[in-house]
């Protein structure tokens, strides 16, 4: 490892300069307002958590965790997501709070990257968790809220893919008989390797009907009609139940008026074991990466000794900014008061008066500027309070 040069930052870390900051701030304001208006209460959690609690419970792979030790030698992690810390709170401090609980967050999360190139190691995530509600209405609400937040920032051409891991699980167990054998095929889906999936199915000693059912799974994506097709390969109560949930979810989303923006994708599997039911991922046609995702994680709270239903989503603020592209946020109109020391007191009073009127005022001693013309160009309005004979001088 070479010694870093003065200007270098650790892999995947980025600065936010004023222009980008304004864009981020405006998006953050809009998305947070949306979540607050849906009754989600904001919370904050620490940046550092124990590896053995939050680190272990998190959906993020261990090699992506930033780890360090505290002074007693306990392994810590920089929080890789907000869901696990919120689950920790829900299962402890907020244990007695009336269910369902609606919480929202806006926080930086950390994921170590092997390769840079467009992948940040620290990014801001905004999202919600809805804890203690197992209904399909809850699944529908978080999906609708995610779409509504993206609509509020005027992100065009957005689509959400919805799957149900309970369906995939039930189907695989029904056909293959054991968790171990189901796991192999799940891994192919998780790795998006359909070629491997098909090849593995061919190699299994199964009836041709069962093989066709498994291959059919790969084709199940599209509008609501996909659910009807899915019933054709669902033979167990569990599998049908998972589909019933999706049919109901489709109705819920229609009530929210967002059916145009959702597609079903029954082989969507974003994690090997974390999610337990409905899962979803959001895309914008302007960007090559998913901008947000979420789903039902009824088993997570068990890791904090509490069995409870929960669902939620997280949107990546950095990717929202990228997807919005050219969206320029106007700089606040600020006035620059350039003064000389004789009229300092007057300038300070004037600045105070303008600020009280809600204006942004830069107060600058002319002696501190090397090139007055170049400096003042950055401001739409410039006032000079210079010399001893000015009208408003109090001296």
């Amino acid at each position: 490892m070479v010694k870093p040069l003065m200007f270098e930052k650790p892999t995947g870390m980025r600065d936010t300069l004023p222009n980008l900051y304004r864009v981020k701030e405006s998006i953050r304001k809009k998305t947070s307002t949306e979540m607050r208006q849906w009754g989600y209460e904001p919370i904050e959690t620490p940046t550092l958590e124990y590896f053995d609690t939050v680190g272990y419970a998190s959906a993020i792979l261990e090699q992506q965790l930033f780890k360090l030790l505290d002074q007693q030698g306990h392994p810590l992690v920089l929080r890789p997501d907000m869901t696990a810390p919120i689950a920790r709170i829900a299962a402890s401090t907020l244990k007695e709070k009336q269910r369902p609980v609606r919480l929202t967050y806006d926080a930086n999360v950390f994921r170590a990257q092997q390769r840079e190139g467009g992948k940040t190691a620290e990014f801001e995530q905004v999202g919600v968790e809805l804890i203690g509600d197992e209904t399909v209405s809850a699944d529908g609400e978080v999906i609708a809220l995610m779409l509504s937040a993206m609509n509020r920032i005027e992100l065009q051409d957005v689509q959400v893919a919805i799957g149900n891991v309970a369906f995939v699980h039930a189907l695989l167990i029904d056909i293959l008989g054991s968790e171990e054998r189901a796991e192999v095929l799940k891994r192919y889906l998780y790795e998006k390797n359909y070629v491997g999936f098909r090849r593995h199915v061919e190699s299994l000693s199964l009836s041709s009907i069962d093989k066709r059912r498994l291959e059919k799974l790969l084709k199940l994506r599209g509008g609501r009609e996909v659910l009807d097709e899915a019933y054709g390969i669902a033979e167990t109560e569990e599998a049908r139940q998972a589909l019933d949930d999706l049919v109901q979810l489709s109705d819920v989303l229609t009530s929210f008026g967002v059916e145009e923006n959702v597609r079903f994708d029954l082989n969507l599997l974003m994690h090997m074991s974390y999610y337990t039911g409905v899962v979803f991922e959001a895309y914008s046609s302007n960007l090559g990466y998913p901008i947000g995702s979420g789903g039902r994680y009824d088993e997570l709270l068990r890791r904090f000794d509490q069995q409870e239903a929960a669902t939620g989503f997280g949107l990546r603020l950095d990717l929202l900014v990228e997807a919005l592209g050219s969206a320029e946020v106007e700089q606040e109109q600020s006035t620059c008061l350039i003064f000389s020391h004789e009229r300092r007191a007057e300038a300070v009073r004037e600045a105070k008066r303008l600020r009280e009127n809600g204006e942004t005022v830069v107060l600058q001693d002319i002696a501190g500027i090397a090139d007055v013309d170049a400096f003042s160009q950055a401001y739409p309005k410039v006032e000079y309070l210079i010399g001893t004979n000015g009208g408003g001088s109090s001296e």
């Binding site: 190139g117 998006k192 390797n193 070629v195 090849r199 994506r221 895309y283 914008s284 090559g288 998913p290």
Partner: protein, 216 residues
């Protein structure tokens, strides 16, 4: 609409020719002089496709970042690069296999760390790990066969199509690791946002591939 155009990343050379031929058989209207162009980006208005000609190892990178919707990449590259892309179809073109080779009479020594030279360090190390053997990787960018000849490594891991290069350099194949063919890969967002165009491509390619396979 330009939006429904598909941007396709392709490796230059033989794979490109074979893949273009498959697309033609699948009914895509690609002009005959297509392959002769030396441009890095070539378009076909009639097929609604834009081709990006890249180094084979780079194809999954273009697709993962979404600057290309679709790509054609060898399985060797996919395993090595581990990019987040959908692997939708085995195109059954450019078939070859990955193998371990060594000088004749090579025997695994127990006492020193065995060295393996390869262009595919990720793929090779996960292979040897799965075999329960710890080896040291030496990454080379080409002419891998040199390594055992000059004593840089004991064994090599490389692509073999005919075995001619190995033979001419006096190496013998010790293990066949896996067969390699080119795959159709798709960006996860394009897979959703351009679902119609991509599904159609898959549906049109499937019978062509099946036919090519049986005719061989």
């Amino acid at each position: 609409m330009n939006n429904e155009w598909l941007t396709i990343a392709m490796p230059k050379g033989r794979i490109f020719d074979e893949a273009v031929e498959l697309l033609r058989l699948a009914g895509y209207d690609l002009p005959p002089e297509f392959e002769e162009s030396r441009k890095l980006i070539i378009e076909s208005e009639s097929a609604g496709m834009r081709f990006i000609l890249a180094k084979p190892m780079d194809v999954p990178t273009y697709v993962e970042h979404g600057v290309c919707d679709v790509g054609v990449a060898g399985k060797d590259v996919l395993i090595e690069e581990e990019r987040d892309v959908y692997e939708l179809l085995d195109l059954q073109i450019s078939a070859c296999y990955m193998a371990v080779a060594a000088l004749p009479g090579y025997e695994r020594k127990k006492d020193i760390a065995p060295k393996v030279a390869t262009k595919y360090p990720n793929l090779a190390s996960s292979y040897f790990r799965a075999q329960g053997e710890q080896v040291e990787m030496i990454k080379l960018n080409g002419s891998i066969e040199l390594a055992p000849l000059v004593g840089l490594a004991d064994r090599i891991v490389d692509i073999v199509s005919t075995g001619q290069t190995l033979k001419e350099n006096g190496l013998v194949e010790t293990e066949e690791m896996m067969t390699i063919t080119s795959r159709l890969i798709v960006n996860p967002v394009s897979y959703r946002m351009k679902a119609a165009a991509i599904d159609e491509m898959v549906t049109r390619l499937e019978p062509v591939i099946a036919k090519e396979e049986t005719s061989e």
